[in-house]
Amino acid sequence: MGFISRSVSMMRYRVKGEIEGAFWEAVDDGVRKYTFRSVDGPGDEVGIGWTSIEDFTDTEFRGASYVRGNYVALGLRVDTVRVPPRILEMHVKQEMKKRLAETGRQRLSSSQRRELKEYVKESLKKSTLPSIQVFDLVWDTSQGLAYFASLSIKARERVEDLFKRSFGLTFIPLVPYLRAEELLTDSSQRRLLENLTPCSMVP
């Protein structure tokens, strides 16, 4: 469920780093450079990038529509395909028979089998419908905070990577210790925090 829904699962990130030059221009460049598009190559991912937070098919961002006050609101769209294993197996077997007949050999080496499987998988990917996932990202530029609407490790890795590539800034998950360092502003408090060890609560 997205950020605007009644119920949303989310992680908080601290945004680290500085944007050089004009801030909003750099943001616009980053969004447009990494707008959702198809990608080639091995793996299940066939498309990734930013979309409008309201409409995952809108990648035009007319009038910098991702800007909401001090916030940047984006959808991270990830398209993946998963060739059904039995379909893949069937096509690999057919292709293997064909190759053996053409070459007159008894069997293929393990590296040839691996290459054949990859080749078949890549060609089947083109005729398999993708699964589309969209995760909302809300970046509070005034506080250097971001909310990402997924707890999935894979989705988090993707947004951390894409954010870095888009804006040159790093996402640091605000885990308890890091948030604690921020909440305790006094240096003597932070030293005490650093030296804390787990305590036993058993009576």
Partner: protein, 178 residues
């Protein structure tokens, strides 16, 4: 310390926070008074997972149900387990928030804010922006409540009061059968 070491070695902080917060909520009838005068109402709802962080093999127990079932969590605390995640509600003034806090990441599952009132008399784009900004303000308000409670815990945890009175009171509560 790199991030993964920090995540592993300092994970106890979030678990101690959630465990302490349950104690604090239970002994105060759900009304936690923060030094400075603010009151946050905290209720542990119908789901809680406790585990033993130091064990070589994971030993976790998940409790589901109402108040009386959750009190079985006290038995798990007596075994040295601490709260890894819990569903709870937080309220201050008129606004109530519910969420599942996972202690390792301080992440917020199924975070529910009060409903947003539909923005009338605005165009479609303005209405979308107004709705978004209202939601963002509510999310910030909910996060501020969590931070307020976490700061209160941290200030106690690093003070002499922790060993002198807070931890002994927490242990007495864990020992109680009521």
């Amino acid at each position: 310390m790199d991030f993964l070491d920090l995540l592993r070695e300092k994970a106890f902080l979030g678990r101690e926070f959630l465990t302490w917060l349950w104690f604090k909520s239970d002994v105060s009838g759900g009304r936690i008074e923060i030094p400075g005068g603010k009151v946050v109402e905290v209720t542990y709802l119908d789901r809680m997972t406790l585990d033993l962080a130091e064990a070589e093999t994971p030993q976790s127990v998940t409790l589901k149900g109402e108040h009386s079932e959750l009190r079985e969590g006290l038995a798990a605390l007596r075994e040295g387990k601490k709260i890894e995640e819990a569903r709870l509600s937080l309220r201050s003034s008129d606004n109530e928030f519910t969420t599942v806090i996972k202690s390792t990441w301080l992440s917020f599952g199924s975070f529910r804010t009060p409903p947003i009132l539909p923005a009338q008399e605005l165009g479609e784009d303005e209405s979308a922006e107004a709705t978004f900004l209202e939601k963002a303000a509510l999310v910030e308000e909910g996060m501020e409540l969590v931070d307020t409670l976490f700061r209160y815990f941290l200030e106690l945890r690093i003070s002499d009061t922790w060993e002198a009175s807070e931890l002994p009171a927490l242990r007495r509560w864990i020992a109680s059968e009521t």
